[in-house]
């Protein structure tokens, strides 16, 4: 969706606030926000794609005003309510008032180290061959779905070159909406700055995106 998350090429946000000796967390609540988001996600009630979509669906004024951990927490509140893991009354009150759902998983303290070290691979086997090879010229599709996509607006309808074939991965556009994993080949596609930004673009810079095969057409 063309939400406030799709920031590439936008203007008006002012200088980057670079903080010398930035601490890992700025508030005690940020630590808990990070951890509670990861632990709740580990219950297995939603995919990373759905959680990204939930975050980008926040009203743009909220998305651009909240700190990033607040975006996480606000999306988490929504996900809990959407999945029925908790209702809004419970979320406001901060206490359980109804029995829990059965979840596929629960992350226990003893398993944290192993779970983090293992991660969650989004790579999937795919028997059909990759449609494109390094060096191929491709054009990204023009599309403006209201649903989740990982093709940013600035890179739609643009001519690029396949730089690498990265393997096959879960397709976020389907998976975010409960449509299944539908693995797709992923390519690093590189664009000249002139192609993306036109007049006045830096003559000596390029931008790549990692594009799922359905985003691409042969050019």
């Amino acid at each position: 969706m063309n939400g406030a998350q799709d920031l590439g090429g936008m203007m008006g946000f002012g200088p980057i606030e670079i903080e010398a000796d930035e601490p890992l967390f700025h508030h005690a609540w940020e630590k808990r926000a990070m951890a509670v988001t990861l632990a709740a996600g580990a219950c297995g009630m939603w995919t990373i794609d759905r959680s990204r979509f939930t975050r980008e669906s926040l009203p743009p004024a909220q998305y651009l005003t909240k700190s990033y951990y607040d975006i996480w927490i606000t999306a988490l509140e929504r996900l809990l309510a959407q999945t029925g893991m908790a209702d809004e009354t419970e979320i406001s009150a901060g206490r359980a008032m109804s029995p829990p759902l059965t979840t596929p998983n629960k992350l226990m303290a003893a398993d944290v180290a192993a779970a983090l070290a293992k991660g969650t691979s989004c790579s999937r086997p795919l028997s059909r061959p990759a449609r494109f090879a390094p060096g191929d010229a491709v054009r990204t599709k023009v599309m403006h779905p209201t649903t989740h996509t990982r093709l940013p607006r600035y890179a739609r309808g643009k001519l690029g070159v396949i730089e690498s074939v990265r393997g096959a991965f879960v397709f976020p556009d389907a998976n975010a909406h409960g449509g299944g994993e539908h693995p797709q080949w992923v390519y690093t596609v590189r664009f000249s700055a002139a192609e993306l930004w036109g007049d006045g673009a830096d003559a000596n810079s390029t931008v790549s995106i990692d594009a799922f095969e359905p985003y691409l057409e042969r050019a």
């Binding site: 799709d6 920031l7 590439g8 090429g9 946000f13 200088p15 980057i16 903080e19 000796d21 930035e22 890992l24 508030h27 005690a28 609540w29 808990r32 926000a33 990070m34 951890a35 632990a39 709740a40 219950c43 975050r55 980008e56 651009l64 990033y68 607040d70 927490i73 509140e77 809990l80 908790a86 009150a93 901060g94 206490r95 979840t103 629960k106 226990m108 398993d111 944290v112 180290a113 070290a117 991660g119 969650t120 790579s123 940013p152 600035y154 990265r166 393997g167 991965f169 976020p172 992923v186 690093t188 993306l196 830096d202 000596n204 810079s205 390029t206 931008v207 790549s208 594009a211 799922f212």
Partner: protein, 209 residues
């Protein structure tokens, strides 16, 4: 956002703090989460998983050509050789700066970042200012970070739009012949592995960032 004591005052931040506390209590009461797991998650990122991991990888690549070759071919497995793997580093790619080329990593769509080798991203990496400008004005962004590249130096921006996570291998500073990996790793800043900085040159006064 640079308010370190918190949760007591009546600021907007406190409103978030109480929502986070409410969630933690609720999810614990429901039995969905183990509060001790939260402590373990925090401890991991506070003490085990951070940019020192990436720095050791870079130092090894500078020191060991065979490792460097493996890193450039399959960074996920090369990082695992040093014990760094897992969450938000499942599909790692290393990109190397050269005399001709500088690499810069961004996630314009959210905050994708190679956690397994750099830890949690800094606030600026997740900010609209950085995310909006890194792809359209990378040279200007670098200047804001104090890195003025000559116009002839190519900049390659990597927008992390899928599940690949990018680690920039900065150029090895001159006058470091014979340095140990440990000595070299101390030159490798977090910012240099995102591509908004360079490795520290011996003699530079700059603190690690």
């Amino acid at each position: 956002m640079i308010d370190h004591d918190d949760d007591q005052d009546h600021s907007e931040m406190s409103e978030v703090a109480s929502r986070v506390r409410a969630l933690e209590t609720l999810l614990t009461e429901k039995g969905y989460i183990d509060p001790a797991a939260l402590d373990a998650l925090i401890e991991t990122y506070e003490t085990k998983v951070g940019p020192r991991n990436g720095a050791r990888i870079v130092a090894r690549a500078w020191s060991d050509p065979a490792f460097r070759a493996r890193l450039m071919t399959d960074a996920t497995n090369a990082a695992a050789e040093l014990g760094y793997s897992g969450r938000q580093g499942e599909h790692l790619v290393a990109v190397e700066n050269t005399d001709e080329r500088h690499n810069l990593v961004v996630c314009t769509l959210c905050s994708c970042y190679p956690w397994s080798v750099l830890g949690l991203p800094p606030v600026w990496y997740k900010s609209p200012s950085y995310r909006s400008r890194a792809a359209i004005d990378p040279r200007g962004v670098l200047v804001e970070f104090g890195v003025a590249l000559p116009a002839r130096k190519e900049i390659r921006v990597w927008d992390s739009t899928a599940e690949l996570r990018y680690l920039v291998v900065p150029q090895r500073p001159p006058n470091t012949d014979g340095w140990s990996e440990e000595q070299l790793a101390a030159l490798v800043t977090r910012d240099s592995m995102i591509g908004v900085g360079l490795a520290i040159s011996p003699g530079d006064a700059g603190a690690l960032r």
